[in-house]
Amino acid sequence: MKKTLLAGASAGLLVAAASAAHAQSIDYGSLEQLFNEPVTTSATGAPQRSTEAPVDMTIISAADIERSGAVDLPTILSRIAGLDVTTWGAGAADVSVRGYNQAMSPRLLVLINGRQVYLDHYGYTAWATLPVQLSEIRQIEVVKGPNSALFGFNAVSGVVNIITANPKFDQTGDITVRGGSARYGEVSLAKSFKLGERFSARFSAGAAKSDEFDNTVGVAKSQQNEPSRVSANLDTVTQLTDKAELRIEGSYSNVQVSDMLSNYAYSPSKYLTGSLKGTLTAETQVGQLQFSAYQNDLTAKHVILGQQARFENKITVVSAQDLFKIGAKHTIRLGGEYRHNEVNTAPIGGAEVSYDVLSASAMWNWAITDKLAFTAAGRYDSLDLSREGAFPAGSPPLGNGYWDRKIEEPSWNLGLVWRATDADTFKASAARGVQVPTLVDLGALQARVSVGPYTLGLAGNPTLEPAIVTNYQLTYERALPALKAQVSAKAFVQKTEDVKGQPTSAQIDVAPTPVSLPVLSYRNIGESKMTGFELAASGEFEAGFRWNADWTHTEVDDEPLAGFSPVLRSAAFGATTPENRGNVALGWTGGPWTADAFVTLVGDHQAYALYAVGANPRLVDIDAYAAIGGRVARTFEGDVTVALSGQNLGDSRQRQSAGLEVERRLYLSVSKRF
């Protein structure tokens, strides 16, 4: 269903504008219509047809998003082969690729138009904070496996790059009003416009609120928030000359949710985000040059171990790249990036931890023959860590100089694509990704906690090593035009070295001294290996029917270092990763009517029990479940669509984790395109 959608499928949502201006940014719509398949830049940085990308990629189209009936991104992602989504509340979820999911999952890099929107103080994505309306998304590009060589640190289990409509090329106009069960209410607007021949813009804004899931698992009221969000975004493109353009994007979001913290305690979290990004692109004699700079500002308020914690995080990223072709066979991308990331310590303040990263990267794509292409990409990151400020009483006798540390790591991606016949494609890929410790891991977490009669310190660990993820994959894809279908089979192996373990009161990490408390901290606890395979098929029937099905099997084996327990360190991925998950979907479009049904199956697995003061982390059983969703819609004259949709339709309440049980929710939407 996903990447094989014909170009026309999304044309109804995002109408390619007739622009005579010379294109510097990628005109996804025109290229998609030309090649009759989605195009992407998320694999190598160069534009590519999705079927020829040398990585494992799924593209979710605008039409897929609309037909999903979903009101949030995690629900949409849960229907992608191999993605694991754990829903903690009506506004909070964590997403991972092929296992390793956890509360505040740090292994997935999430971006909007290339700007990271995962929260960099702790490396996770609070999905409700993303300042994007579903109606303005052109496509969501999901890369499975490490892609650090292009995107840098933390693109280790995968990348989700959300591509919005480009106001220069795409005319967007949508207003949606939605109501639903549990007092759900939402309004969203996205509209593009032009001022003269050279200036284009798109404005979007939205707000939503609902009741939290019923509290059937004994979560204290003080640990929850009724989920609500408000966001706005402005995206402008100015054609400076015939060969140069400037894109300015600014965003804002204000969100509250019931978060699941990494120690599996709920937190009534609040987020305030803001961003400003500028991208200058020019077509020159030496290739397509792109200069980009952005800043993300975040205020995140949590309740950690009963203490108010307020993180002020600011990241600044400046990058440059040149993309060019040498002769007929070789495409090259050269890039450089500078990044500054800073955050205060919390819950106990008084200090700031920061780092600067310098990166150099290169990509080479070689069309060896008409049928065979090879891609090599590499990146080298050099991170300088530092700390400024005071230490709380009872801290180990360390000075700020203990934080003066450098982390230098290479990343790489290799890919071979062989189009053996018009119908058969084989791909082989290898990758090394780097999951750098977050600022919280490295020292921004600073707390004191009472365990029984004892007082312990809780602190980050500036000596923590990055987790290194290596991944190897073989893919076979076959088109079956006679059946209007395609099938694929994939096999993969992955190893994670220096897995990060969480602090646990079961193990003292820094012994007390006469002047300092015993300290609990983050530690590298060993390795974890994963093997698996994925089978997928999709297609269309006569009379407007479409279908897709997939099944992903993974086996995760944790291999801790002596003296460490993955269970106690909240990193028992072998137990918490379901061995099997899959999806089945059937849809139909006839005239003004559209109907879709989705079933997501998740096998038996274990999950962490909710945090309890003084108790060690422990696992509980989660039975296999099927999450059923669906949507029925009718479009009327004037491009007005009325849709009834629902999620978790099979049960009024379903246990998918040890947290709040996921409720059945129904929505009625009225959308008008203009």
Partner: protein, 174 residues
Amino acid sequence: MSKKKPVVALAATLLAVAPFSAHADAAKDVQIAGRALTFLENGPTGKAVLGVVFDPSKPASVAEKNAVMAAIGGGLNTGTLTLTAKPVEAGAVSGVGGVAALYVTTGVNAAPVGAAAKAKKIITIGSDASCAASGACVMSVSADPKVEIIVNRGAAAAVGAVFKSAFRMMIREV
């Protein structure tokens, strides 16, 4: 796992079904040709005329010309470009005027057509891959079973055709 066998069986069944052989579709090919023209630097916009080159002695060429003319009809919208068409006999290319590009049907002796077009700095597009591979045409296009576009860099340079960089990175160049 109980689900394994049915899934494997389904996959095996699907894999056993051979894909149908490709059939050239003139309407789809000319649509691709028109869209490809929009990725030219300083290329045609608005309304443009596509000359459809055919060999009247070759039934297949004539049939393709007829199919292309029918597909374009009163005007074919390909994004920023609306194409109309006029038939051009292969022997008359050196005298052709008022066309944005020439669409060379299969069966036409492409070499002299290409040479005549280069002399007049007109872009040539073939529906046969060999037309661009040989250098007679600037570009070859085919829509089925998968969109394939080949650009001959030498032929493109000869007529002064420069394609946008994103386009160049997604097609085959020879």
